[in-house]
Symmetry: C2
Subunit: 127 residues, 2 copies
C-alpha cells in the first residue's frame, strides 16, 4: 500500500470500530494529537481515546474525506467526522496530518479542528 | 511553478505583506475560508481580511510550514502562523487546504484551527 492507501485503510478500520485492527496499523510510539485537546502516545492510549469517542451513545460514525494529498511519507486529508447520537448528528470539520513509516505503520496522526462542535458532542455524550 | 511551489510563493507574499502581489495570485472567485470564522470570496475580500489581521499593532508576522503535501491540484500544509504584537507572540496552529488552477492561480484557501488563541489575538489587537 502507498502511504495514502495506508491512511485510507486506517480510516476504514476506525469507522468499522475494529479497534484491534486499528492498533495493528500504528507504531509502538504512535503520536495521536487532537490539537486543541492534547497528545496521546502508543496504541493503548489511541484505543482508549477512540473507544471513548465512539462508544456509549454513539450509534453511527463516519469519516467523510473531501480532499487528500500525499508527498513522501506525509499524508493529509480534509474531512467531516460525523458522530450520530440518537437523532442528533455532530459534524466535526477536521484537517488531519499523518506520517507513515517505510514499513507501512502510522507513526503520527494529528487532527486540527475548532472545539465548538466538539464541546456540543461531549455534552451530548454526557447528557 | 508546481501547485506546491505556487502555494509557498503565495505564503512568501503574505508574510512580506505585499497584498497587491498576493491578490495577483488568486482567481476572481477565490474562496478564502477560515473554518470557525466563515468564508470570504474574491481578491478584495481576501485583501480586507488579511489587511485586518496583519495591520494595526502587528509588528511581525511569520507562517512557519512544518509539513506539506500535494496531489494533483490540491496542496495542504501544517503551519504555525505567528503574529507579534509588542512583546506578545500569538502562535496559531493551522492546517491549510489549497486548490491551484491549471494556470497557476489559487482558487481555494481554507484554514482549520481552534478559535482559542485567535480570540486572544483579536483581544490584543483591540486592546
Amino acid at each position: 500500500m502507498t502511504p495514502l492507501e495506508t491512511v485510507n485503510e486506517f480510516i476504514r478500520r476506525i469507522v468499522a470500530l475494529d479497534l484491534d485492527a486499528v492498533c495493528d496499523m500504528v507504531t509502538d510510539d504512535v503520536e495521536y494529537d487532537n490539537v486543541p485537546m492534547g497528545k496521546n502516545h502508543g496504541p493503548e492510549a489511541l484505543r482508549a481515546v477512540l473507544g471513548g469517542m465512539t462508544g456509549g451513545k454513539v450509534s453511527d460514525l463516519d469519516f467523510i474525506v473531501h480532499r487528500e494529498a500525499a508527498t513522501g511519507n506525509v499524508v493529509m486529508n480534509e474531512r467531516t467526522d460525523r458522530f450520530v447520537i440518537g437523532d442528533q448528528s455532530f459534524d466535526i470539520l477536521v484537517c488531519g496530518v499523518f506520517e507513515v513509516t517505510d514499513d507501512g505503520k502510522i507513526s503520527l496522526w494529528r487532527d486540527y479542528f475548532d472545539m465548538a462542535v466538539v464541546n456540543d458532542f461531549v455534552a451530548a455524550m454526557a447528557g
